[in-house]
Symmetry: none
Subunit: 268 residues, 2 copies
Protein backbone atom coordinates (compact mmCIF):
# COMPACT_ATOMS: atom_id res chain seq x y z
CA UNK A 1 0.00 0.00 0.00
CA UNK A 2 1.11 3.53 0.67
CA UNK A 3 0.89 3.78 -3.07
CA UNK A 4 -2.27 5.74 -2.47
CA UNK A 5 -1.66 9.38 -2.30
CA UNK A 6 -4.97 9.72 -0.56
CA UNK A 7 -5.47 8.47 2.90
CA UNK A 8 -8.80 6.85 2.33
CA UNK A 9 -10.85 7.86 5.30
CA UNK A 10 -14.07 6.08 5.86
CA UNK A 11 -16.30 9.04 5.13
CA UNK A 12 -14.47 9.81 1.95
CA UNK A 13 -14.69 6.26 0.77
CA UNK A 14 -18.41 6.19 1.37
CA UNK A 15 -18.88 9.30 -0.66
CA UNK A 16 -17.06 7.60 -3.45
CA UNK A 17 -19.23 4.53 -3.18
CA UNK A 18 -22.31 6.67 -3.36
CA UNK A 19 -21.09 8.40 -6.48
CA UNK A 20 -20.17 5.14 -8.10
CA UNK A 21 -23.51 3.59 -7.51
CA UNK A 22 -25.36 6.70 -8.52
CA UNK A 23 -23.59 6.98 -11.83
CA UNK A 24 -23.19 3.32 -12.66
CA UNK A 25 -26.49 2.08 -11.42
CA UNK A 26 -26.47 -1.27 -9.72
CA UNK A 27 -22.96 -2.49 -8.96
CA UNK A 28 -21.51 -5.68 -7.64
CA UNK A 29 -19.88 -5.51 -4.26
CA UNK A 30 -16.72 -6.86 -5.75
CA UNK A 31 -16.48 -4.12 -8.31
CA UNK A 32 -17.06 -1.44 -5.75
CA UNK A 33 -14.36 -2.94 -3.60
CA UNK A 34 -11.84 -2.91 -6.41
CA UNK A 35 -12.78 0.62 -7.38
CA UNK A 36 -12.25 2.07 -3.95
CA UNK A 37 -9.29 -0.17 -3.12
CA UNK A 38 -10.85 -1.67 -0.09
CA UNK A 39 -11.76 -5.17 0.88
CA UNK A 40 -15.22 -6.50 0.27
CA UNK A 41 -15.80 -6.74 3.96
CA UNK A 42 -15.19 -3.06 4.42
CA UNK A 43 -17.34 -2.10 1.51
CA UNK A 44 -20.06 -4.28 2.86
CA UNK A 45 -19.91 -2.41 6.12
CA UNK A 46 -20.03 0.88 4.30
CA UNK A 47 -22.93 -0.14 2.17
CA UNK A 48 -24.80 -1.31 5.21
CA UNK A 49 -24.27 2.07 6.82
CA UNK A 50 -25.39 3.88 3.72
CA UNK A 51 -28.44 1.73 3.55
CA UNK A 52 -29.32 2.67 7.11
CA UNK A 53 -29.27 6.27 5.98
CA UNK A 54 -31.49 5.43 3.06
CA UNK A 55 -28.90 6.59 0.55
CA UNK A 56 -28.54 3.26 -1.15
CA UNK A 57 -30.40 0.04 -1.74
CA UNK A 58 -28.53 -2.99 -0.62
CA UNK A 59 -29.09 -6.34 -2.20
CA UNK A 60 -27.38 -9.62 -2.36
CA UNK A 61 -24.09 -9.24 -4.15
CA UNK A 62 -24.04 -5.51 -4.39
CA UNK A 63 -25.81 -2.22 -4.15
CA UNK A 64 -28.15 -0.12 -6.25
CA UNK A 65 -29.54 3.38 -6.21
CA UNK A 66 -32.58 3.65 -4.00
CA UNK A 67 -36.16 4.19 -4.97
CA UNK A 68 -36.10 2.38 -8.24
CA UNK A 69 -38.49 -0.33 -7.35
CA UNK A 70 -41.81 1.34 -6.89
CA UNK A 71 -44.15 -1.52 -7.33
CA UNK A 72 -47.63 -0.20 -7.55
CA UNK A 73 -50.54 -2.38 -6.80
CA UNK A 74 -52.50 -3.37 -9.82
CA UNK A 75 -56.20 -3.39 -10.37
CA UNK A 76 -56.20 -7.15 -10.36
CA UNK A 77 -54.74 -7.27 -6.91
CA UNK A 78 -57.24 -4.82 -5.53
CA UNK A 79 -60.13 -6.91 -6.67
CA UNK A 80 -58.62 -10.01 -5.18
CA UNK A 81 -58.56 -8.55 -1.72
CA UNK A 82 -62.22 -7.74 -1.25
CA UNK A 83 -63.12 -10.98 -2.91
CA UNK A 84 -65.05 -13.01 -0.33
CA UNK A 85 -68.03 -10.69 0.01
CA UNK A 86 -68.22 -10.03 -3.67
CA UNK A 87 -68.10 -13.73 -4.33
CA UNK A 88 -70.94 -14.40 -1.94
CA UNK A 89 -73.02 -11.68 -3.54
CA UNK A 90 -72.23 -12.99 -6.98
CA UNK A 91 -73.32 -16.49 -6.03
CA UNK A 92 -76.59 -15.17 -4.66
CA UNK A 93 -77.19 -13.01 -7.71
CA UNK A 94 -76.57 -15.96 -9.99
CA UNK A 95 -79.85 -17.39 -8.70
CA UNK A 96 -81.62 -14.54 -10.46
CA UNK A 97 -80.32 -15.69 -13.81
CA UNK A 98 -82.10 -18.50 -15.58
CA UNK A 99 -81.14 -20.60 -18.54
CA UNK A 100 -82.29 -19.20 -21.87
CA UNK A 101 -82.20 -15.78 -20.31
CA UNK A 102 -80.96 -12.52 -21.76
CA UNK A 103 -79.31 -10.19 -19.32
CA UNK A 104 -77.17 -7.09 -19.07
CA UNK A 105 -74.04 -7.04 -16.94
CA UNK A 106 -72.53 -3.70 -16.04
CA UNK A 107 -68.92 -3.01 -15.17
CA UNK A 108 -67.37 -3.66 -11.80
CA UNK A 109 -65.58 -6.38 -9.95
CA UNK A 110 -68.79 -7.71 -8.43
CA UNK A 111 -70.47 -8.15 -11.78
CA UNK A 112 -67.27 -9.70 -13.01
CA UNK A 113 -67.56 -12.24 -10.21
CA UNK A 114 -71.17 -12.83 -11.20
CA UNK A 115 -70.06 -13.49 -14.74
CA UNK A 116 -67.73 -16.12 -13.42
CA UNK A 117 -70.62 -17.77 -11.62
CA UNK A 118 -72.57 -17.95 -14.84
CA UNK A 119 -69.95 -19.90 -16.72
CA UNK A 120 -71.84 -23.16 -16.81
CA UNK A 121 -75.16 -21.79 -17.98
CA UNK A 122 -76.84 -22.80 -21.20
CA UNK A 123 -78.24 -20.60 -23.89
CA UNK A 124 -77.58 -17.41 -22.10
CA UNK A 125 -77.18 -14.07 -23.83
CA UNK A 126 -75.12 -11.52 -21.97
CA UNK A 127 -74.90 -7.91 -23.00
CA UNK A 128 -72.10 -5.97 -21.36
CA UNK A 129 -70.07 -2.82 -21.67
CA UNK A 130 -67.30 -4.25 -19.53
CA UNK A 131 -64.37 -5.85 -21.25
CA UNK A 132 -63.59 -7.69 -18.05
CA UNK A 133 -66.98 -9.34 -18.05
CA UNK A 134 -66.67 -10.09 -21.74
CA UNK A 135 -63.34 -11.73 -21.21
CA UNK A 136 -64.64 -13.93 -18.43
CA UNK A 137 -67.48 -15.24 -20.53
CA UNK A 138 -65.71 -15.51 -23.83
CA UNK A 139 -64.88 -19.15 -23.37
CA UNK A 140 -68.17 -20.22 -21.88
CA UNK A 141 -69.67 -22.58 -24.42
CA UNK A 142 -73.34 -21.91 -23.82
CA UNK A 143 -73.15 -18.15 -23.59
CA UNK A 144 -73.41 -15.53 -26.27
CA UNK A 145 -71.61 -12.35 -25.40
CA UNK A 146 -72.67 -9.08 -26.92
CA UNK A 147 -70.38 -6.16 -26.30
CA UNK A 148 -71.62 -2.63 -26.61
CA UNK A 149 -69.48 -0.18 -28.47
CA UNK A 150 -68.03 2.96 -27.02
CA UNK A 151 -64.97 4.72 -25.74
CA UNK A 152 -62.76 2.59 -23.63
CA UNK A 153 -62.23 3.83 -20.12
CA UNK A 154 -58.85 2.72 -18.90
CA UNK A 155 -59.36 2.52 -15.19
CA UNK A 156 -62.29 0.14 -15.26
CA UNK A 157 -62.05 -1.35 -18.74
CA UNK A 158 -65.61 -0.24 -19.37
CA UNK A 159 -67.08 1.22 -22.51
CA UNK A 160 -68.80 4.55 -22.14
CA UNK A 161 -70.01 7.48 -24.16
CA UNK A 162 -72.75 8.13 -26.63
CA UNK A 163 -71.78 5.20 -28.81
CA UNK A 164 -72.42 2.90 -25.90
CA UNK A 165 -75.82 4.39 -25.25
CA UNK A 166 -76.70 4.16 -28.90
CA UNK A 167 -75.72 0.53 -29.02
CA UNK A 168 -77.92 -0.17 -26.04
CA UNK A 169 -80.88 1.67 -27.49
CA UNK A 170 -82.05 -1.22 -29.62
CA UNK A 171 -81.69 -3.88 -26.98
CA UNK A 172 -84.27 -5.37 -24.66
CA UNK A 173 -83.38 -7.92 -22.03
CA UNK A 174 -84.88 -9.46 -18.96
CA UNK A 175 -82.66 -8.23 -16.18
CA UNK A 176 -79.82 -5.78 -15.79
CA UNK A 177 -77.17 -6.41 -13.14
CA UNK A 178 -75.40 -3.30 -11.98
CA UNK A 179 -72.93 -2.45 -9.29
CA UNK A 180 -72.46 1.23 -8.64
CA UNK A 181 -70.24 3.04 -6.20
CA UNK A 182 -72.83 4.04 -3.64
CA UNK A 183 -76.37 3.18 -2.66
CA UNK A 184 -78.65 5.15 -0.37
CA UNK A 185 -82.34 5.04 0.40
CA UNK A 186 -82.84 8.60 -0.70
CA UNK A 187 -81.01 8.70 -3.97
CA UNK A 188 -80.64 5.09 -4.98
CA UNK A 189 -77.56 4.04 -6.91
CA UNK A 190 -74.91 6.63 -7.66
CA UNK A 191 -71.49 6.91 -9.21
CA UNK A 192 -68.84 9.63 -9.17
CA UNK A 193 -68.39 9.70 -12.92
CA UNK A 194 -71.03 11.46 -15.05
CA UNK A 195 -70.34 9.56 -18.22
CA UNK A 196 -70.51 6.27 -16.37
CA UNK A 197 -73.78 7.35 -14.83
CA UNK A 198 -75.22 8.05 -18.21
CA UNK A 199 -74.30 4.62 -19.44
CA UNK A 200 -75.64 2.97 -16.31
CA UNK A 201 -78.95 4.58 -16.96
CA UNK A 202 -78.92 3.26 -20.49
CA UNK A 203 -78.11 -0.22 -19.19
CA UNK A 204 -81.07 -0.08 -16.86
CA UNK A 205 -83.32 1.30 -19.55
CA UNK A 206 -83.02 -1.76 -21.74
CA UNK A 207 -83.98 -4.26 -19.05
CA UNK A 208 -87.34 -5.16 -17.62
CA UNK A 209 -85.91 -5.48 -14.13
CA UNK A 210 -82.92 -3.95 -12.43
CA UNK A 211 -80.73 -5.87 -10.01
CA UNK A 212 -78.18 -4.00 -7.94
CA UNK A 213 -75.15 -5.79 -6.52
CA UNK A 214 -73.69 -3.85 -3.62
CA UNK A 215 -71.62 -5.00 -0.69
CA UNK A 216 -72.10 -3.34 2.66
CA UNK A 217 -69.31 -0.84 2.12
CA UNK A 218 -71.33 0.75 -0.63
CA UNK A 219 -74.61 0.94 1.20
CA UNK A 220 -75.13 4.29 2.83
CA UNK A 221 -72.56 5.94 0.58
CA UNK A 222 -73.67 8.64 -1.75
CA UNK A 223 -71.60 9.85 -4.68
CA UNK A 224 -72.03 12.53 -7.25
CA UNK A 225 -74.43 11.41 -9.91
CA UNK A 226 -77.59 9.42 -9.36
CA UNK A 227 -77.96 6.60 -11.82
CA UNK A 228 -80.90 4.53 -10.62
CA UNK A 229 -83.60 5.99 -8.39
CA UNK A 230 -84.55 3.71 -5.49
CA UNK A 231 -88.01 2.98 -6.80
CA UNK A 232 -86.54 1.50 -9.95
CA UNK A 233 -84.46 -1.03 -8.09
CA UNK A 234 -86.29 -4.32 -8.34
CA UNK A 235 -83.66 -6.45 -6.61
CA UNK A 236 -80.78 -5.72 -4.31
CA UNK A 237 -78.16 -8.34 -3.55
CA UNK A 238 -75.86 -7.52 -0.66
CA UNK A 239 -74.02 -9.22 2.18
CA UNK A 240 -74.96 -9.74 5.80
CA UNK A 241 -72.97 -6.80 7.07
CA UNK A 242 -75.29 -4.33 5.48
CA UNK A 243 -77.36 -2.07 7.70
CA UNK A 244 -80.67 -3.90 8.27
CA UNK A 245 -82.59 -0.69 8.60
CA UNK A 246 -81.63 0.45 5.16
CA UNK A 247 -82.56 -2.91 3.75
CA UNK A 248 -85.96 -2.83 5.39
CA UNK A 249 -86.66 0.65 4.10
CA UNK A 250 -85.74 -0.47 0.63
CA UNK A 251 -88.04 -3.44 0.92
CA UNK A 252 -90.85 -1.13 1.88
CA UNK A 253 -90.20 0.74 -1.31
CA UNK A 254 -90.68 -2.37 -3.35
CA UNK A 255 -87.15 -3.71 -3.67
CA UNK A 256 -86.62 -7.41 -3.14
CA UNK A 257 -83.55 -7.73 -0.95
CA UNK A 258 -81.30 -10.77 -1.13
CA UNK A 259 -78.73 -11.13 1.62
CA UNK A 260 -75.73 -13.31 0.88
CA UNK A 261 -74.29 -14.91 3.98
CA UNK A 262 -70.55 -15.19 4.32
CA UNK A 263 -69.55 -18.62 5.51
CA UNK A 264 -66.33 -17.94 7.35
CA UNK A 265 -67.19 -14.68 8.91
CA UNK A 266 -64.29 -12.90 10.42
CA UNK A 267 -65.56 -11.14 13.51
CA UNK A 268 -65.56 -7.48 14.09
Amino acid sequence: MTEEGKPTFAAERRERILELVRSNGAMALRDIASQVRASEVTVRRDVRALEAEGLIDRRRGGAAPPGRLGHEQSYAQKTRQAAPEKLAIAKAAAALVEDDDAIVLGPGSTTEALARELMGRHNLTVVTNSLLVAQVLVNAPGIDVMVTGGSLRGTTLALIGSATEQALAGIRVHRAFLSGNGLTVDRGLSTPHPAVASVDQALVACAQETVILADHTKIGTDTMVQTVPPEHINHLVTDNHADPEVLMTLEDMGTTVHVAVLENDQGE
Copy 2:
Protein backbone atom coordinates in the same frame (compact mmCIF):
# COMPACT_ATOMS: atom_id res chain seq x y z
CA MET B 1 -20.26 -1.40 -25.55
CA THR B 2 -22.62 -2.60 -22.91
CA GLU B 3 -20.10 -4.97 -21.42
CA GLU B 4 -21.22 -7.38 -18.83
CA GLY B 5 -20.41 -5.27 -15.88
CA LYS B 6 -24.04 -5.77 -15.09
CA PRO B 7 -24.35 -7.69 -11.88
CA THR B 8 -27.85 -8.93 -12.71
CA PHE B 9 -29.41 -8.79 -9.30
CA ALA B 10 -32.69 -10.44 -8.73
CA ALA B 11 -34.56 -7.19 -8.40
CA GLU B 12 -33.07 -5.74 -11.57
CA ARG B 13 -33.75 -8.90 -13.43
CA ARG B 14 -37.37 -8.82 -12.43
CA GLU B 15 -37.68 -5.25 -13.48
CA ARG B 16 -36.27 -6.22 -16.81
CA ILE B 17 -38.68 -9.09 -17.17
CA LEU B 18 -41.53 -6.76 -16.43
CA GLU B 19 -40.40 -4.32 -19.05
CA LEU B 20 -39.86 -7.05 -21.60
CA VAL B 21 -43.28 -8.48 -21.11
CA ARG B 22 -44.90 -5.10 -21.02
CA SER B 23 -43.40 -3.99 -24.28
CA ASN B 24 -43.38 -7.29 -26.13
CA GLY B 25 -46.64 -8.66 -24.92
CA ALA B 26 -46.76 -12.35 -24.25
CA MET B 27 -43.35 -13.94 -24.24
CA ALA B 28 -42.12 -17.48 -24.02
CA LEU B 29 -40.24 -18.38 -20.90
CA ARG B 30 -37.31 -19.46 -22.99
CA ASP B 31 -37.04 -16.12 -24.70
CA ILE B 32 -37.20 -14.24 -21.45
CA ALA B 33 -34.50 -16.46 -20.04
CA SER B 34 -32.18 -15.81 -22.94
CA GLN B 35 -32.87 -12.10 -22.82
CA VAL B 36 -32.00 -11.74 -19.18
CA ARG B 37 -29.21 -14.31 -19.27
CA ALA B 38 -30.67 -16.53 -16.63
CA SER B 39 -31.84 -20.09 -16.58
CA GLU B 40 -35.44 -20.93 -17.24
CA VAL B 41 -35.81 -22.13 -13.71
CA THR B 42 -34.84 -18.79 -12.33
CA VAL B 43 -37.07 -16.92 -14.70
CA ARG B 44 -39.90 -19.20 -13.76
CA ARG B 45 -39.34 -18.32 -10.14
CA ASP B 46 -39.25 -14.63 -10.95
CA VAL B 47 -42.36 -14.80 -13.01
CA ARG B 48 -44.10 -16.64 -10.24
CA ALA B 49 -43.13 -13.91 -7.80
CA LEU B 50 -44.27 -11.20 -10.15
CA GLU B 51 -47.53 -12.99 -10.61
CA ALA B 52 -48.06 -13.05 -6.87
CA GLU B 53 -47.76 -9.29 -6.94
CA GLY B 54 -50.28 -9.09 -9.71
CA LEU B 55 -47.77 -7.49 -12.05
CA ILE B 56 -47.78 -10.22 -14.62
CA ASP B 57 -49.95 -13.01 -15.89
CA ARG B 58 -48.33 -16.36 -15.90
CA ARG B 59 -49.35 -19.05 -18.29
CA ARG B 60 -48.00 -22.24 -19.62
CA GLY B 61 -44.76 -21.64 -21.44
CA GLY B 62 -44.40 -18.00 -20.68
CA ALA B 63 -45.77 -14.82 -19.28
CA ALA B 64 -48.06 -12.06 -20.43
CA PRO B 65 -48.98 -8.59 -19.26
CA PRO B 66 -51.72 -8.51 -16.68
CA GLY B 67 -55.22 -7.44 -17.46
CA ARG B 68 -56.80 -10.73 -18.12
CA LEU B 69 -57.46 -10.28 -21.80
CA GLY B 70 -55.43 -13.17 -22.94
CA HIS B 71 -54.92 -15.42 -25.85
CA GLU B 72 -55.22 -18.50 -23.81
CA GLN B 73 -55.38 -21.22 -26.36
CA SER B 74 -53.78 -19.48 -29.24
CA TYR B 75 -50.95 -18.14 -27.18
CA ALA B 76 -48.36 -20.80 -27.80
CA GLN B 77 -49.24 -21.02 -31.42
CA LYS B 78 -49.12 -17.33 -32.01
CA THR B 79 -45.93 -16.58 -30.20
CA ARG B 80 -44.11 -19.29 -32.03
CA GLN B 81 -45.43 -18.57 -35.42
CA ALA B 82 -43.64 -15.63 -36.88
CA ALA B 83 -43.07 -13.32 -33.99
CA PRO B 84 -40.01 -11.53 -35.34
CA GLU B 85 -41.62 -11.00 -38.71
CA LYS B 86 -44.76 -9.66 -37.15
CA LEU B 87 -42.81 -7.33 -34.96
CA ALA B 88 -40.86 -6.02 -37.91
CA ILE B 89 -44.02 -5.55 -39.91
CA ALA B 90 -45.65 -3.76 -37.02
CA LYS B 91 -42.71 -1.40 -36.69
CA ALA B 92 -42.82 -0.62 -40.36
CA ALA B 93 -46.56 -0.11 -40.33
CA ALA B 94 -46.26 2.27 -37.42
CA ALA B 95 -44.60 4.68 -39.79
CA LEU B 96 -47.92 4.99 -41.58
CA VAL B 97 -49.56 6.34 -38.45
CA GLU B 98 -49.14 9.98 -37.61
CA ASP B 99 -49.85 11.90 -34.48
CA ASP B 100 -53.34 13.39 -34.36
CA ASP B 101 -54.45 10.60 -36.65
CA ALA B 102 -57.59 8.55 -36.54
CA ILE B 103 -57.22 4.95 -37.60
CA VAL B 104 -58.93 1.60 -37.57
CA LEU B 105 -57.17 -1.50 -36.29
CA GLY B 106 -58.61 -4.86 -37.14
CA PRO B 107 -58.15 -8.07 -35.20
CA GLY B 108 -55.08 -10.26 -35.42
CA SER B 109 -51.76 -10.69 -33.75
CA THR B 110 -49.98 -8.47 -36.24
CA THR B 111 -52.30 -5.56 -35.68
CA GLU B 112 -51.95 -6.21 -31.99
CA ALA B 113 -48.21 -5.84 -32.36
CA LEU B 114 -48.82 -2.64 -34.29
CA ALA B 115 -50.95 -1.38 -31.43
CA ARG B 116 -48.06 -1.98 -29.14
CA GLU B 117 -45.82 0.07 -31.37
CA LEU B 118 -48.24 2.97 -31.17
CA MET B 119 -48.16 3.17 -27.42
CA GLY B 120 -46.19 6.39 -27.24
CA ARG B 121 -48.23 8.35 -29.77
CA HIS B 122 -50.07 11.53 -28.99
CA ASN B 123 -53.63 12.42 -29.75
CA LEU B 124 -54.36 9.28 -31.61
CA THR B 125 -57.84 7.86 -32.02
CA VAL B 126 -58.00 4.16 -32.59
CA VAL B 127 -61.15 2.36 -33.60
CA THR B 128 -61.03 -1.38 -33.21
CA ASN B 129 -63.20 -4.42 -33.02
CA SER B 130 -60.47 -6.43 -31.36
CA LEU B 131 -60.49 -6.65 -27.60
CA LEU B 132 -56.84 -7.58 -27.73
CA VAL B 133 -55.96 -4.35 -29.46
CA ALA B 134 -58.16 -2.43 -27.09
CA GLN B 135 -56.46 -4.02 -24.17
CA VAL B 136 -53.03 -3.11 -25.44
CA LEU B 137 -53.89 0.53 -25.90
CA VAL B 138 -56.01 1.03 -22.85
CA ASN B 139 -53.13 2.33 -20.80
CA ALA B 140 -51.62 4.52 -23.46
CA PRO B 141 -52.05 8.07 -22.22
CA GLY B 142 -52.33 9.88 -25.53
CA ILE B 143 -54.64 7.45 -27.24
CA ASP B 144 -58.41 7.33 -27.35
CA VAL B 145 -59.74 3.86 -27.93
CA MET B 146 -63.13 3.38 -29.49
CA VAL B 147 -64.44 -0.15 -29.45
CA THR B 148 -67.11 -1.22 -31.86
CA GLY B 149 -69.98 -3.22 -30.51
CA GLY B 150 -70.89 -6.68 -31.57
CA SER B 151 -70.94 -10.34 -30.75
CA LEU B 152 -67.78 -11.57 -29.14
CA ARG B 153 -65.97 -14.26 -31.05
CA GLY B 154 -64.11 -16.44 -28.63
CA THR B 155 -61.23 -17.68 -30.68
CA THR B 156 -59.92 -14.30 -31.73
CA LEU B 157 -61.49 -11.99 -29.17
CA ALA B 158 -62.92 -9.97 -32.01
CA LEU B 159 -66.34 -8.38 -32.27
CA ILE B 160 -68.40 -9.37 -35.25
CA GLY B 161 -71.92 -9.35 -36.51
CA SER B 162 -74.38 -6.77 -37.68
CA ALA B 163 -73.98 -4.69 -34.54
CA THR B 164 -70.33 -4.26 -35.36
CA GLU B 165 -71.08 -3.18 -38.87
CA GLN B 166 -73.70 -0.77 -37.66
CA ALA B 167 -71.31 0.76 -35.20
CA LEU B 168 -68.78 1.26 -37.96
CA ALA B 169 -71.29 2.79 -40.32
CA GLY B 170 -71.04 6.24 -38.82
CA ILE B 171 -67.28 6.35 -38.59
CA ARG B 172 -64.73 7.86 -40.94
CA VAL B 173 -61.04 7.56 -40.35
CA HIS B 174 -57.83 8.07 -42.25
CA ARG B 175 -56.42 4.59 -42.51
CA ALA B 176 -57.56 1.09 -41.73
CA PHE B 177 -54.99 -1.53 -40.76
CA LEU B 178 -56.06 -5.08 -41.42
CA SER B 179 -54.44 -8.46 -41.27
CA GLY B 180 -56.35 -11.24 -42.91
CA ASN B 181 -55.58 -14.90 -43.24
CA GLY B 182 -54.53 -14.99 -46.84
CA LEU B 183 -53.48 -12.61 -49.57
CA THR B 184 -53.24 -13.33 -53.28
CA VAL B 185 -52.86 -11.20 -56.34
CA ASP B 186 -56.05 -12.49 -57.83
CA ARG B 187 -58.44 -12.22 -54.93
CA GLY B 188 -56.80 -9.82 -52.52
CA LEU B 189 -57.31 -10.34 -48.83
CA SER B 190 -59.39 -13.27 -47.69
CA THR B 191 -60.51 -14.99 -44.52
CA PRO B 192 -62.10 -18.35 -43.85
CA HIS B 193 -64.93 -16.94 -41.76
CA PRO B 194 -67.84 -15.23 -43.52
CA ALA B 195 -68.89 -13.08 -40.59
CA VAL B 196 -65.34 -11.90 -40.11
CA ALA B 197 -65.15 -11.09 -43.76
CA SER B 198 -68.22 -8.97 -43.55
CA VAL B 199 -66.80 -6.99 -40.68
CA ASP B 200 -63.46 -6.61 -42.41
CA GLN B 201 -65.26 -5.05 -45.31
CA ALA B 202 -66.98 -2.66 -42.97
CA LEU B 203 -63.66 -1.76 -41.40
CA VAL B 204 -62.23 -0.96 -44.78
CA ALA B 205 -65.30 0.99 -45.78
CA CYS B 206 -64.88 3.59 -43.10
CA ALA B 207 -61.28 4.44 -43.94
CA GLN B 208 -59.86 6.54 -46.72
CA GLU B 209 -56.97 4.16 -47.19
CA THR B 210 -56.51 0.49 -46.51
CA VAL B 211 -53.27 -0.93 -45.16
CA ILE B 212 -52.78 -4.68 -45.11
CA LEU B 213 -50.32 -6.26 -42.73
CA ALA B 214 -49.33 -9.71 -43.91
CA ASP B 215 -46.22 -11.73 -43.24
CA HIS B 216 -44.84 -14.00 -45.92
CA THR B 217 -46.73 -17.04 -44.68
CA LYS B 218 -49.97 -15.40 -45.65
CA ILE B 219 -48.96 -14.24 -49.06
CA GLY B 220 -50.02 -16.61 -51.75
CA THR B 221 -52.60 -18.25 -49.54
CA ASP B 222 -56.22 -18.04 -50.49
CA THR B 223 -59.07 -18.73 -48.12
CA MET B 224 -62.79 -18.84 -48.44
CA VAL B 225 -64.18 -15.36 -48.47
CA GLN B 226 -62.69 -12.38 -50.16
CA THR B 227 -62.69 -9.30 -47.97
CA VAL B 228 -60.62 -6.70 -49.79
CA PRO B 229 -60.12 -6.85 -53.54
CA PRO B 230 -56.53 -6.22 -54.56
CA GLU B 231 -57.27 -2.90 -56.22
CA HIS B 232 -58.53 -1.50 -52.92
CA ILE B 233 -55.32 -2.24 -51.08
CA ASN B 234 -53.46 1.03 -50.83
CA HIS B 235 -50.58 -0.23 -48.73
CA LEU B 236 -49.14 -3.61 -48.02
CA VAL B 237 -46.63 -4.14 -45.24
CA THR B 238 -44.84 -7.46 -45.29
CA ASP B 239 -41.47 -8.95 -44.49
CA ASN B 240 -38.50 -9.72 -46.67
CA HIS B 241 -39.31 -13.38 -47.03
CA ALA B 242 -42.31 -12.62 -49.17
CA ASP B 243 -42.34 -13.64 -52.78
CA PRO B 244 -40.98 -10.64 -54.75
CA GLU B 245 -43.00 -11.48 -57.80
CA VAL B 246 -46.25 -11.18 -55.96
CA LEU B 247 -45.15 -7.90 -54.48
CA MET B 248 -44.23 -6.50 -57.85
CA THR B 249 -47.53 -7.51 -59.32
CA LEU B 250 -49.31 -5.81 -56.48
CA GLU B 251 -47.30 -2.68 -56.98
CA ASP B 252 -48.32 -2.69 -60.61
CA MET B 253 -51.90 -2.72 -59.44
CA GLY B 254 -51.38 0.42 -57.40
CA THR B 255 -50.46 -0.93 -54.01
CA THR B 256 -47.59 0.68 -52.19
CA VAL B 257 -45.52 -2.17 -50.79
CA HIS B 258 -43.47 -1.75 -47.64
CA VAL B 259 -41.00 -4.49 -46.88
CA ALA B 260 -39.88 -4.78 -43.29
CA VAL B 261 -36.37 -6.12 -42.96
CA LEU B 262 -35.50 -8.38 -40.09
CA GLU B 263 -32.50 -6.97 -38.33
CA ASN B 264 -31.50 -9.43 -35.69
CA ASP B 265 -32.26 -13.03 -36.19
CA GLN B 266 -31.47 -14.17 -32.74
CA GLY B 267 -31.80 -17.54 -31.20
CA GLU B 268 -34.10 -19.31 -33.55
